[in-house]
Symmetry: C2
């Protein structure tokens, strides 16, 4: 009747909210919500902002590169890129000489918009960081990374 294996929990927990997965989801949802709200005033969505930020740091990334960096599929990122391109925030060559990847770059307008949005996003990040003991920040970053690595990190994206 009952399951043969006793279903041993990953760690002692009174209820679901004690699970790492639940907390992770909660924090990520809170972050997403805060960013959505903050970016709306700048006329950007979260994936759009992520895309601009990536391109600012490493100009010339391809659609596939950006998709990996933003944890979405190539197809989704392609939609985002078209939007940014139509808005004049990035530019992409129509063709390329060597491969198939089209390197994207921020336009001046894109840089300006990013600068404005960045301060809003950084304010959010600062709120998060200030909420945790400074001594634990490095460990937190490391543990988040370890967890992602442990799950393969292929993110299930693309196929």
């Amino acid at each position: 009747m009952s399951h043969p294996e006793p279903v041993v929990p990953p760690h002692p927990a009174q209820d679901i909210t004690e699970h790492v997965g639940y907390r992770l989801k909660r924090s990520a949802a809170a972050l997403r919500g805060a960013m959505d709200k903050a970016l709306r005033g700048h006329g950007l969505t979260v994936p759009q902002y992520a895309c601009l930020e990536l391109l600012d740091e490493r100009p010339g990334l391809s659609n596939a590169d950006l998709a990996r960096g933003a944890f979405v599929t190539r197809q989704s990122m392609n939609v985002v890129l078209r939007g940014l391109q139509d808005a004049g925030l990035i530019r992409r060559p129509a063709t390329t000489e060597h491969g198939r990847a089209l390197p994207a770059h921020l336009t001046d307008e894109g840089s300006r918009r990013l600068a404005g949005a960045r301060s809003a996003v950084y304010a959010i990040e600062r709120r998060m960081v200030e909420a945790i003991p400074p001594r634990r920040l490095a460990a937190l970053l490391a543990d988040l990374d370890r967890m992602a690595d442990a799950l393969g990190d292929e993110s299930g994206n693309d196929g």
Copy 2:
């Protein structure tokens, strides 16, 4: 030309991947991907599983309660509930005496499906937990919670 405010970052970082927000997103994406894959074999989506888990712990939760617990809108959860109801995994009264909220309950079949899916999800959670030093687990959970609280946690859901 350049921005008047120097845009002070929340904490020293060489590149974007050092930011808490990025790591959080990465871990959450990895978890989501792993759960998606694991649950597919059980014929459940992540929101469906979350819903069943919540109902197992606290039978009688309403659609709105479940939406809050799963960090989605009422409307999204409503779709999920209909799916689970059609699949015979939960039941909900058509009407109620006192309020407007309709209390949902797992069916026997729902409990069975949950038990099966749970072991798959717990295996994922165990992989995550085992990737971090045991001594830091409690601190990690606390810090994730602190961050969510710091962002208001209203998640931006509903309106």
